[in-house]
Each structure stands twice: as C-alpha cells, then as structure tokens.
C-alpha cells in the first residue's frame, strides 16, 4: 500500500467535509467557557488542517502512504494532540522546580506544538521537496506542456 488514490468524487467529498467542519467550528466557538466543547473545537481545526494538508500534497489525486501521509501529516497531528491535551490538563496549575522554571503547559506548546511541527512539516518539506513536492521531471513536463500553449491573459 504505497499510495492512496482518490477519485474525483472523493476529492469533492473531502472539500464538502471541510465545509461542514467550518460550519461546526463557527458554532462551537460560541461556547468559549466550556472545556470539553473547546477540545472538540480544537479537534475540528486539526481535522481541517489535515484535510487541506492532504489536498495540498496529493498529485493527480494520489498521495503516498508513508511519505507524506504518515510523515509528516499524521505525526504532526499527534504532536498537536499532545501539546493541546497537556496544556489543557495543566491549565492554571502551579508547577515548581520544573525544567528551567517553565510551566509544563508551556513546555508542551514549545516542545510538541512548535518543535513537533518543525520536525514534521518544516523538516519534511526540506526532505521531501525534491522527491514528493516538486520533482525536476514534473516541473520539466509542466514547462514542456505550457511551452506548447499560448500565454494566457
């Protein structure tokens, strides 16, 4: 299972799902004081981000299973879940003598959210650019194709 192939209908469905999630999010955000609903709101934005990540990385409706679906997309999602969950569980608590005097919630944001996303999305972009994002042959094919067409206005 090296590639997932999406039909045009599946791509449409992903976009419509995103539309429904957008709607769900606008409603959830009205309940700013309710912690479980805010966790649900966080899961909603995470799903939206994953959907657009998948749609943006697929080429001709195909996406690789290990690269880039598992790494970086799903691993990034795990880091986000860890960061937000720890920050929520430790919210408002006093934590003395922790690493460099930092609060565990803040460590989670820095370590899992920022560093985790950096190690997946940013580093993944660097590692996979030439093989999965814009290969030389893909760009050359594109240039060949457009060189035979008239420039648009």
């Amino acid at each position: 299972m090296s590639n997932f192939v999406f039909s045009d209908k599946a791509v449409d469905n992903l976009h419509v799902t995103a539309g429904i999630l957008w709607l769900f999010l606008t409603i959830l955000l009205f309940f700013g004081q309710n912690m479980p609903l805010m966790y649900l709101a966080f899961l909603t934005i995470l799903l939206l981000i994953i959907i657009y990540f998948v749609l943006g990385t697929m080429r001709e409706n195909k996406i690789g299973f290990i690269f880039p679906l598992v790494y970086p997309i799903l691993i990034m999602a795990v880091f986000w879940l860890l960061a937000f969950s720890i920050a929520m569980l430790t919210k408002g608590k006093v934590a003395v003598n922790f690493i460099f005097g930092m609060h565990p919630g803040w460590i989670a944001v820095l370590g899992f959210f920022w560093l985790g996303t950096f190690l997946t999305t940013t580093l993944g972009y660097a590692l996979l650019f030439d093989t999965h994002i814009l290969t030389e042959s893909k760009w050359n094919n594109f240039m060949d194709k457009v060189s035979q067409m008239e420039k648009m206005n």
Partner: protein
C-alpha cells in the same frame, strides 16, 4: 517630489490628531545617527532597485526576479511587523502565554503554506504575465469580477494592517527620537514612500532583505538583554509564583499553556496563524517573485526559520517586561503597547539603539508592502476590472498618487480606532487578508471545481461580514464572543465550497488547459 509635497501639506493637517504619551526610552545622539544612516541606506536601496522596476509588471510585482536568500529575508521581515515586535510583547504582558500560540504557529505555518500552494503560485507565473495577486486570481478564474472583488478586499485589508504599523510606528518614533507621534509618523511614512516611489515591489523586497538582517541582529541583542534583566533562566517560575493583579495571584495562569485569553480565542489564533500565514500577501507575492522554482524549497525553510528566530523577540521582550513589573522594578503599564519600551528602558543605550532599529525595520518592511498592494489593487486591478483600465505607461504614476492617499486614509483610521492597540489592529488586518485570500488562493488552487461565481460569492460574504462586524463593534451594537474575522473567514469558505459543489458539473469544469496544468502540478 510633487507627491511628497502634497503628502507633507496634507499630513500637517492630520498630525495634530495624535496625543503624546509617557516616554520610557531616553533618545540619544547614537540613536539619531543610527536612524539617519538607516534611512539613507533604505532610500539608497530604493533608488538602486529602480533598475528592476521599469515596467508596471516589474514595479508592482517583481515577478520571477529574485533568489531565495533575498526573498526569505524579505518574507520574514514583512511578516514580523509592528504586530509582532510591539503588539506581541504587549500581548504577552497583558495575557501571559496565550499569544505564544500565534508566534509558534506562524513560523511553522510558512512551510505548510509553501507545501500546499507554493508551486502552483509559482507555476501560474509561467502561463501568464502576472504582477499582482488579483492578476493571478483573474487568470485562475478567467474573470474580471473575481479580480475586482479581490482588489476591493485587499485594499480594505491593506489599510487595516497598515493602520497597525502606523499605530506602532507612532509609538516607536516617539520613544526612539523623542519627537511627537505626528512628526514620527511623518518621518516613517516619508522614508517608506521615497524608496517605494522609486523601486515599487523591487524596492520593497530589497530593502526588506536589508531590514530583515537588522531585525535578526536586534533579536540577538534582545536575548542578551533578557538574561541581563532577569539574571537567570528561572524568571518564569518567579513570575508564576509572584505575579499579582489587584491583589490576586495570577502568575500560574499567566505562564501556563494558555495564559489569560479565553480558550476559543486561542483556538482561533492557532488556526488563523498556522493556515492563515500563507494567505498573507507578504508570502503569497514572494512565491512568484522567485526566479527559479527550485528556490521554493530554500525559501519555505529559511523564511520559517528566520521567523522562528524573530519570534524570540515577541516572547523574551514580553516576559522581560512582565518580570520587571512582577519584581516591582517597574510600575504596571497603563497601555500594553509600551511593554517593549519598558523592557528597552532597562538596556544600555547601545543595546537600545540596535533593538529600536530592529523595531523600525519591522514596521517599515511591512508598511511598504501594504502601501504597494493597496496602490496596485486600486490603480491596476480594481479600475481595470470595471473597464477603466489606466494606460500601461501611466499605471506607475497613478500608483504613486494612490500610495500617498492610502497613507493619509490610514492615519485617519488610526485616529478613529481610538484605544484599539497595535495587536488588535494587526490581527484584524491579518484575519481580513485570510478572509479574502483563502477562498481564492487556497480553495481555488486545491479544487478544480471552484468556480468564479463561488469565489465572487465568498468574497462578497467575507468582505461584508468583516466590515459589518467592525462597524457594529465600533458603535457598541454587537460583538461576537470570538474574533469576527474567524466568523467571516468561515462564512466565506462555506459559501465558496457549497456554491462550487452545487453548480452544474461540466467536463473538466471548463478549465483552460494551462490552468489545468497548473492545478495538476
């Protein structure tokens, strides 16, 4: 020269609208010399860049012109604005670590954005002569209506974001040079106008690369200054155990993972600044200014890294100010926008000068871009879309006149916006850009099915809601329990998605072959 004379005359009429506030930093000769040198170098770069701005396309767009290092530094400098360098520390000071999510999300969001739409934005420059974002929208959707509505949205959003720069710039110049806020804003705007009038978008990119370097030096100085002020690495624990407001111990809430901001607002920030960073013109325009498409790789990484380093200023300066107040070394601030200057007041004059120069660079590098975008949106795109196209050889001339007008309108808005701080104006501008650019450039590039009717509907909904909520809030009639721009963005996206989905399906959605080739890339 005529533009500057008119600008000066009208500006004098507005300048007394500003009121003076407390000074934290003592201006020195060193700072003045540094500022004069800095301004001269910026103008020099602007004059030099005229060689890249001979046609309207080059003046407004600099399409396929620069390499990855220049573009990366320029991107970072343009994104890290007064919002980041003055508003950011202010948010940390007033809300604790809530806003850390913003700066953490935006840095890594850059590579996410480059990943999902970077190559398509660059590729579109190969199939048509494009200079501006509405140009690209017109080519993608084959519609002047899309171009026109996007131009209107960009015009409003640019003025909103620019108002944050003018607001922050007024405070900065007053603190830095000891002049009135009106005079300070005049020096700032006149400098930006001079180098933009010469070089247009090329002037913006080259001066921004220089300003990006200045900002990185300022961050380095801030790191040293932070440890000088706090003495050790346990300053956060000190704040956690001792910070009080009105007799109540709040330290543990300030430095935890969410700070004092409500959770729904933090969630909005995470989303808006991770996904939204790519919808900011500072990045979108850079994608097609790259000469070589392979440079997308280096630009996506270096911009994110540079932004990550610059973010340290947001965090360290804010925490430093909070530490000083917690310790009782400084009195609590009445206005959170002064947090950065409270921190600076405790550094040596040389260190102050370097950091102040970094703040000036952050403000100028963002202001010039939005002046350019607003001018091109009106002169080239909006007028063109309604059939009043300005002759090719006159576009640059009228663009310069509009630039002056945009600054004056923005100054008036800053005055009208009253107590809204730099961060609030900045995040409103950021959200407004996302509202108009997300349906066009993210949905439009990722889904062939998105039609011009859908995008126009989305744009109308997004612009109307952003402006409508701002007016309702201004008059105290209604305020949403979370940021208006999130609601406007969601409504614009939902409209675009469902209008696209329910339209009649035609073969390949009637896309021209070159567009299909771009979307398949």
């Amino acid at each position: 020269m005529r533009f500057l004379t008119v600008f000066l005359l009208i500006f004098i009429m507005f300048s007394n609208l500003f009121s003076s506030t407390q000074s934290y930093v003592q201006p020195s000769y060193v700072t003045w010399i540094f500022v004069v040198l800095y301004i001269l170098i910026s103008i020099g770069i602007g004059v030099f860049s005229t060689r890249f701005a001979k046609t309207p396309e080059q003046y407004f767009g600099s399409t396929k012109t620069f390499g990855p290092v220049t573009v990366s530094l320029a991107s970072m400098a343009a994104i890290m604005s007064a919002f980041g360098f003055i508003g950011g520390p202010g948010l940390v000071y007033s809300l604790g670590f809530s806003s850390i999510w913003i700066t953490c999300a935006a840095g890594v969001g850059i590579s996410y954005g480059f990943w999902i739409i970077g190559k398509k934005m660059r590729a579109i420059a190969e199939i048509a002569d494009v200079a501006t974002l509405p140009d690209i929208a017109r080519v993608r959707f084959q519609s002047k209506a899309v171009q026109g509505f996007l131009a209107i949205g960009l015009l409003f959003a640019s003025i909103a974001f620019l108002s944050a720069q003018i607001h922050g710039g007024a405070i900065l110049m007053q603190q830095m040079l000891g002049v009135s806020q009106g005079v300070g804003v005049f020096i700032l705007c006149a400098t930006v106008l001079i180098y933009m009038l010469f070089g247009g978008m090329s002037g913006h990119i080259l001066t921004n690369a220089f300003q990006g370097l200045i900002m990185l030096v300022a961050v380095f100085v801030c790191i040293i200054g932070f440890f000088q002020i706090t003495g050790d690495v346990n300053s956060l624990e000190y704040i956690m155990l001792n910070y009080q407001e009105g007799g109540a111990l709040l330290g543990n809430k300030m430095v935890d993972g969410f700070g004092l901001q409500s959770l729904n607002q933090v969630i909005v920030w995470i989303f808006i600044f991770f996904v939204g960073v790519v919808t900011q013109p500072q990045l979108l325009t850079k994608m097609y200014t790259l000469k070589d498409p392979k440079s997308l790789k280096a630009t996506g990484i270096v911009s994110g890294l540079a932004y990550g380093v610059a973010s340290l200023m947001w965090i360290l300066v804010g925490v430093g100010a909070l530490y000083l107040v917690t310790k009782g070394t400084a009195a609590p601030l009445a206005n959170k926008d002064y947090a950065a200057f409270l921190f600076l007041a405790h550094l040596s004059p040389w260190m102050q000068t370097f950091v102040l120069a970094g703040l000036l660079a952050a403000i100028m590098s963002t202001s010039d871009l939005f002046i350019s975008i607003a001018a091109s949106a009106f002169t080239r795109d909006f007028l063109g879309s309604i059939g009043h196209e300005i002759a090719h050889d006159r576009q640059v001339h009228y663009g310069r006149i509009v630039s002056v007008g945009v600054i004056l309108i923005t100054i008036l808005i800053v005055k009208l916006s009253g107590k809204a701080g730099t961060a609030i104006l900045g995040s409103f501008g950021f959200g407004f850009f996302m509202t108009v650019n997300f349906p066009v450039f993210v949905l439009g590039m990722l889904w062939k099915r998105v039609s011009k009717e859908a995008v126009v509907s989305g744009l109308i909904v997004g612009i109307s809601l952003n402006l409508g909520f701002a007016i309702l809030k201004f008059f105290g009639i209604y305020k949403l329990p979370y940021y208006d721009y999130m609601f406007a963005l969601a409504a614009a996206s939902i409209t675009t998605i469902f209008v696209s989905f329910f339209r009649r399906k035609t073969k390949n959605f009637s896309l021209p072959e070159p567009i299909k080739a771009v979307l398949d890339l």
